[in-house]
Symmetry: D2
Subunit: 345 residues, 4 copies
């Protein structure tokens, strides 16, 4: 039994971590922090957790908390994470960081898209926590940079194709659509029910901060630099990301060959499900689960491949993947505590 | 390990039974039937169950199926259930019937609201499967009549008050609101997305078939006959029922006394959560779980009590309660396999 | 051509007033105020109004604005309204006040439910602006108190029954359900998309401030004091209110008689549509329009009547009714500029 | 005053035509046909039209109907349209066909994507009814092929760029997202509320029948043949289409230059609104209106342009554009009867 801490427990990712950890047989949630809700139970912040996670949120100094947990999930905004992660590591704790602060290898790239980086010396040891691609590096890590939700949905479907040289890296376009929980639980007009429901919009066109993260990881898979077009959109639903990805094929591939490639690439993965030819995934079929479902289409008319992937942004795109990383870091079975069945309808 | 059959696996309740049973450590799903989807895997009917419930649906005669399962969940429409349940019982199988066919004690009442009853001789032994109220009778039963979704949401909050004579049985009004999954997966114009979304309506005003079921069970609790006003409504959401219930208090009661009564009445129940005074439940906080959450308000201005209860209509209102009943019937821990955490947001 | 001002143009009601007034042939929108958006065009606050209402919002003193408009729609919160309405009236302007400040005749009642009233001397001349009930008083008024959204939906269906003594005034229960736009455009966690969607809740049970307003107007119709039980609920939709109303009948009434009574009572009304026996209204059928649709059911089993009414809370429940009142005040045809057709789906 | 007929009045497009025509000062709706609802009033098929369109639906032979209307809106499925349009034309009626049957110039292309064409002789005279691009040809037409919803959303934003040679025609990718009303009012499991809500999916990836229509019209604008990648998606909302369109720029263009080009290209158009640089449209801002709103982004990192367009699929994507075409055909002001303001929220 290990003791886990959630730093930033009142956000949607924090609440989801509490939900998932409550089902984990080898973890006890020993610390939950929140500035706004200090002194309140998690079940007051999130009434669905009544009787399940009744731990009281606190706003104590990290120095004290490090004695009360073995592993820390930092579910805080970028810039906040880099201010606390070093102290956690130096105290001997493991950290799964759900912010963007340790995902970008090159601090200059980070600073071009975010702001100044004040913990550069930890970047080298931070491991990008996409277990299906990077499992062997995660195992021994003390600092795991949990991937962004959009990047998870874009990298997993492209990995087999890039590794096999099937697509031209300069032609990748990722058109992604996200549920509204990705925008967080902060009070803002833009995510009010009436602003979002029965509507659809693009946002941060060509400017979203997940772009360099995706490019960095795709470049590793392709073996060379690349740039992509990435457009996020807001869907009137709570959970889920669907990414539609386009790229030029480098040679003739038929549908069965492509489907087979994806299936064999991911055949041992518990959390990746490949659709049969002609089938495509939908976000409602992964809701509440750690799955990434992937479909593909060879379009011979245009010489392009179209990939469609879906995840639950709060699970495989955040809290679930974080627990998956924790399992790898701690030597547990990788799917331990993550065997939830998608909730449909 | 017992073997379970789902008769009518392609409806929403059938899919939900498959989801819940896949998480149950003492049950193997050995049979799933569907007329329309015979020959197809459950995961083709419900893609979210891919890798979780890949059993093939069939349309075999009951006589054959009785050899391949120990307990049958009949998730079929009323009238269909009464045609197959006798055969299952006579073959020595246990039955949890999710239809209305065995819920009404008096066949004349049943026939006044439904149609002719062709299995009257089994009514006497059928046990109304609301474990919190009727657990001791369920334990030895071979035929459990799983309650309707609306009745579950109305009976549980009223039970403590009726048993304690706190309200006038002739003044009960239940105004209930249900998510759209209650209307089933059949193709019909009335439940198309565009007909339901961003809208709200009442239906079957004063005529819904759950009325006599509610009245029957409330009468047992009150110790005398009664009639209620019951109005169901359709909410643009998938899952969830909220019932707002009004009744005249028979004497002065203060808020704390009422809250305490509800809390003590249900203090040992795993699946009933009573809100603190001033708090009220919401359907999104029980989504995907077997909970019934209840809040109450003493309105001294009018001398009435207002009760607000919520359930997930597919879980506590159908499949979850059916598995709870199975646990009681089979002597398992009552919450076995039902420890799912509500999914929010 | 008259000049109209919207005070508080950035709220949902303000935006809706701008939409409706843009279609009115006898009105020019000459002033729009907003503290938060001063200096911005209405079309920046509400992009749907681009090319339709490009007036610039301002935050000027009332004293200046009174020279630039003939009639003022005060779409501000209660307490704010009472601080500005006197000045507008004294400058000779007409006022349609959409707040609660001038709806309650008795300042003691107002103060029991709201807070201190600082413009008591204007209460006597304020006219309750429900034209179907009170048209003759509105015609000459300089201050119209535009009804609350819930009260509009409750008073209209009950008026014919109370006027004819068909129901016992002490038995009225109004169970109302509102779309989320009723909560306004302010940034708050409780009305975020993820908090509201796929969920349903009651709120302010037995404590909502529209209660005394409803009771006051029903008492006038009944000819005696009464109290009601009123419970509002939040529906995952933008627009619309549905009220389900219960009361004991004072004598035997059959369905046709009741339907006929409603139809004849409202036969000359352009904005009230009575459903045929057996039919009930739905909010999506009045979306975007000034209609109030009403259905009724005589429940002989319980001796109660059930009334179901629907309105668009932003139109008949706010901005549309305000323009209807303006038409009466200014002597225009009452439906001028309000002939919009409901938008479905 | 002209007399208009709606053939296929019970679909969502038929209902929307009735709504829009009811607001048109120069048109009387004289005929509405429906097989399934013959003998019923439009207001029974669509209760929101009660008191607005109470015409009775009929199922009479075309030969009789041609005497009772001057212009016919054929809102029927492809293949059905080609069976009736010739008779209408030969009887001297004007036809606005909302099906796909007369949109494709080349019958071989039509037959490759649809089925055999049985009215080929009318293809030459059919005019593609996108007024902003093709107004001069529509004016004298007796048969207008009303564009598909997706094509309208893709062609309008691309037209200025293709006409000016700013993009490489071989690099166009259109990723489109549609509300569920586009799937029609037929009863089918796939568009039930529970299947669609809180979910997102792609469909007909690389195979949608609007592809050749888009390619045909873009080719005319580009002055040469081209193929595009087109992927439609289903959004959990009723109305609206958003298309995100990618293409390689043929030369350096800056953001202001591109925005200016779009603004000047559409400066005289009443139904096209171009967003300022940095702004992007949303479907909720055109809901219920005939607008097409367009935003654009020059992405210098990738050398691509990203265009984002939105329409209401039932208005500018169907019934509204059809009435706009009728106005052009009949010599009315092009925006007559179409001055509805978008409904938000």
């Amino acid at each position: 039994m290990i003791r886990a801490a959630i730093i930033g427990a009142s956000g949607y990712t924090g609440g989801e971590l509490a939900r998932i950890l409550s089902l984990h047989p080898e973890v006890e949630l020993s610390v939950a922090t929140s500035r706004n809700y200090a002194g309140k139970k998690m079940s007051q912040v999130y009434p669905h957790l009544t009787g399940i996670a009744d731990i009281v949120c606190e706003d104590a100094p990290m120095a004290e908390l490090t004695r009360r947990a073995d592993i820390f999930f930092t579910a805080v905004p970028h810039q906040t994470a880099m201010a606390i992660v070093p102290e956690l590591l130096e105290a001997g704790c493991k950290v799964i960081d759900l912010s963007a602060d340790f995902r970008i290898d090159d601090p200059l790239v980070y600073e071009a898209w975010y702001q100044a980086h004040t913990a550069r010396e930890y970047l080298a040891e931070a491991v990008y926590g996409l277990p299906e691609i990077n499992r062997h590096n995660i195992a021994g890590a003390r600092l795991v940079a949990n991937p962004g939700c959009y990047p998870t949905s874009v990298i997993l479907p492209l990995a087999p194709l890039l590794k096999n040289g099937l697509i031209d890296p300069d032609t990748i376009i990722a058109d992604s659509k996200s549920g509204t929980s990705g925008a967080g639980r902060g009070a803002q007009v833009g995510t009010l029910f009436c602003e979002v429901t029965d509507g659809f919009r693009a946002y941060k066109v060509g400017e979203h901060r997940h772009t360099p993260e995706i490019e960095q990881e795709l470049a590793k898979l392709a073996g060379r630099q690349l740039t992509i077009s990435f457009t996020p959109h807001l869907v009137p639903m709570s959970r889920g990301i669907l990414s539609t990805i386009y790229a030029k094929l480098t040679r003739d591939v038929d549908q069965q060959e492509l489907s087979d490639l994806l299936m064999s690439f991911y055949q041992d993965e518990k959390f990746v499900r490949i659709c049969r030819p002609g089938q495509f995934p939908a976000t409602q079929y992964v809701r509440g689960s750690n799955y990434c479902d992937i479909g593909c289409k060879v379009d011979t008319r245009t010489g392009r491949v179209v990939l469609v992937s879906v995840i639950d942004n709060l699970v495989k795109g955040a809290a679930g993947q974080a627990v998956q990383n924790m399992n790898v870091v701690c030597g547990f079975a990788e799917s331990l505590g993550l065997a939830t069945v998608p909730l449909f309808p």
